[in-house]
Symmetry: C2
Subunit: 151 residues, 2 copies
Amino acid sequence: MMGRTYEGLNCSAARALEVVGERWSLVIIREAIFSRVTRFNDFQRRLGVASNILKNRLDNFVAAGLMEPRPYSQSERTHEYVLTDKGRDLRPVLVALTGWGDRWVAPEGPPVIYTHSECGGDITQVSQCTKCQEEHRDLDIVTRPGPGATR
Amino acid sequence: MMGRTYEGLNCSAARALEVVGERWSLVIIREAIFSRVTRFNDFQRRLGVASNILKNRLDNFVAAGLMEPRPYSQSERTHEYVLTDKGRDLRPVLVALTGWGDRWVAPEGPPVIYTHSECGGDITQVSQCTKCQEEHRDLDIVTRPGPGATR
């Protein structure tokens, strides 16, 4: 399933993009996470994406373990696409991407506001230091090699 | 400059993907942000990306205001690509994407660990409610229309 665009790179961002970096992929995942869309026709109607592309993306999501097919109604030939934990865990990526879009390419203001379900407050996303607990959207970050650095 | 893949969608994530959703785009931005790469040859050597693709992406970043060309050395024909605030602000997107990759597609562990420059602690990313201050990577989020909802 994993693509080969970034084959030589030992980088988790690149590996993530092998799974969700194709056109439409993250937009489809967004509909699934935030609008709880599960059916082929609903994805297509809401997004206007071509059937063959949508089919390819959903099949790839199933192969990559982001979604699971689940039969619905009487027909065994019809199924919906239900997010797995792995798929749902892309939420922070979409919150971050939306935040950037809101700040830089939404001159009329955010089309959608992410809201805390329990209290109705607006959601923001911050980087947090697990040692000194400082947190900030723009915390100064450097990199160091991790356990998977050499392979 | 803005592409047309998601033209009918009033969605900040889709608009962000028009700018950085093409193959290689976010990986190039990642090198610029975290490894402070600025020169064409350095991007190419580190990533192994084809010259024509790299040239296209860097030109698009300049057109979109993510990078600025800056002459270096004696040659006026040679310039490097320097991130703007708009480009640097993609950092949370890359931290989120890397976090997902670390959790789900890095069986040998993270290749790279994001580290707080001031204290050396590991960085994590959380969603924070601006009202009740609750914070969690997986805070339960719903959506509501924002000021840019109708256009």
